[in-house]
């Protein structure tokens, strides 16, 4: 289960809405071993595409180094789907390289109601998990 503060959920949705119709992506870092997302980091979608996303490699190195220095890990890795449901695509599964992260998908295909769901993706296997939002 992903337990996450309301303000962090709102920040992901706002980012996804702002970049729509392109996909938005980012990370929420948290203390190593805590499984608690805390520090919200919007990333550049180097692809600037409505159907694909990729963290800019240089920005990713900088952010991963910061996390290392702070003893943090990427607790949440999020991105948006702008025309399809919030379920990992085949490409999402093939790239998923952080077995301990919660992969959060936000769908902005409906202009009013967003859809937000969370998954573990380990060795090609997708497992959906409940999301518990706590008031911040």
């Amino acid at each position: 289960m992903l337990v996450i503060r309301r303000d962090l959920v709102d920040a992901m949705v706002a980012h996804a809405r702002r970049d729509h119709p392109d996909e938005a992506c980012g990370v929420i870092a948290g203390p190593f071993g805590s499984d608690r997302p805390e520090r919200f980091i919007e990333m550049e979608n180097a692809e600037r595409s409505p159907t694909f996303y990729r963290f800019d490699a240089a920005e990713q190195l900088k952010v991963w180094r910061e996390m290392d220095a702070n003893d943090e890990v990427p607790v949440v890795i999020y991105h948006s789907h702008t025309a399809t449901e919030a379920y990992p695509s085949r490409t999402d599964v093939s790239f998923a390289g952080e077995p301990e992260a919660h992969y959060v998908l936000v769908s902005t295909r409906d202009p009013i109601e967003h859809e937000l769901r969370s998954y573990r993706i380990v060795e090609g296997v997708v497992t959906e998990e409940p999301v518990k939002i706590i008031e911040s």
Binding site: V27, F55, Q60, S89, T91, D92, E98
Partner: protein, 90 residues
Amino acid sequence: MAVTVSIPTILRTHTGGEKSVSATGTTLAEVIDDLENNHGGLKARLVKEGSLHRFVNVYVNDEDVRFSGGLDAEVKDGDNVTILPAVAGG
């Protein structure tokens, strides 16, 4: 030429859980061959059909090797090689 290689979580099964290992070589390709000798299975996770796999980012110090020759990128004594899983999808 000894370099330090940072290993991401997903590949640490090949290094007995070690976060960072040392390797030798004068190019990234040689470093990866040396890694393979000591940590079997790593090379297949990094290289496909003679070039770097699109699922990984490799940096020598701060430089993304995609812009500095890929597997032919030169490494010097004391360099840091960092491997990160590319974060991407559709």
